[in-house]
Symmetry: C2
Subunit: 131 residues, 2 copies
DNA sequence: TCGGTGGTTTACGTTTACGTCAAGAAGGAT
DNA sequence: ATCCTTCTTGACGTAAACGTAAACCACCGA
């Protein structure tokens, strides 16, 4: 049952970010690790939170948006009004993700045509060299 | 054949961005509209470019990354080496998009579980109110 | 002729997300 | 006891992506 813990540089290494970034996320309220004296002690849960932050960043979420996601994920039960506003936020996020999916599909199509033009240009080059 | 043109505020209104942003994109080399005297005159192609920028931004691309995409889309044929490096960049971008797809799917799953917890908490609230 | 309306450049301000020292405390090896 | 490593808290610096304000043309209708 010895629940695993991590130092800040453990996580930095494993997740390939700087300790500065991790402390900054805490400063912005996205993380609140245990302390042993001054030292920060991270739980597996903290690690999951960090991964969520990194995923969020990869798809262009701001830290503020990531924090909202984390709060959504948090089991700190609020009152009914909060629950309803949480559901609203969740559906907002879902719409945003759907839009991003469309954007990505469109981007892929554009990469297709760009690639095609590249390949054709290369073929032209090779032909003219063959002469 | 009267090829359509737009003023800067036309595009700002239509694409829901500020004129400042549009000028900034130009300053960063993402756009180079015609001029009539001092005045900027935008073509349909410029509009397409702007839409590409906005799509890029929605999925977290930096302006520098957007500019690369625009250059990829550009038919200004380079030499063979450039073409090969373009193909490499295209496949890099494609990998990044695939990663983003995975990230988004994961996010959607997390929204699912967050929503489920919300709904269950709401049901609990209603039950206890019913007594 | 005069007052908008819409365009321009220049320039400084702001927010976000950290990077980069500096200075110090804590524990372990020699 | 001293040195090394790893941690800590400031505090200032920086790049990106604009916002905002100033000061200036140019045309157009009343």
């Amino acid at each position: 049952m010895s629940s695993q813990t991590y130092s800040i540089s453990d996580l930095a290494r494993e997740l390939d970010i700087t300790t500065r970034a991790i402390r900054f996320y805490e400063e912005q309220g996205l993380l609140s690790p245990e302390r042993r004296g001054q030292e920060r002690i991270y739980s597996p849960r903290d690690k999951v939170t960090l991964k969520l932050i990194l995923r969020g960043k990869r798809i262009g979420f701001s830290l503020a948006e990531c924090r909202e996601l984390i709060e959504l994920y948090d089991p700190s039960g609020g009152n009914t009004k909060q629950l309803n506003s949480m559901l609203a936020k969740i559906s907002e996020r879902r719409e945003q993700l759907e839009q991003q999916l469309l954007d990505i599909e469109q981007m892929k199509l554009e990469l297709d045509t760009a690639e095609e033009r590249c390949v054709q240009a290369l073929e032209q080059t090779l032909k003219s060299q063959a002469v």
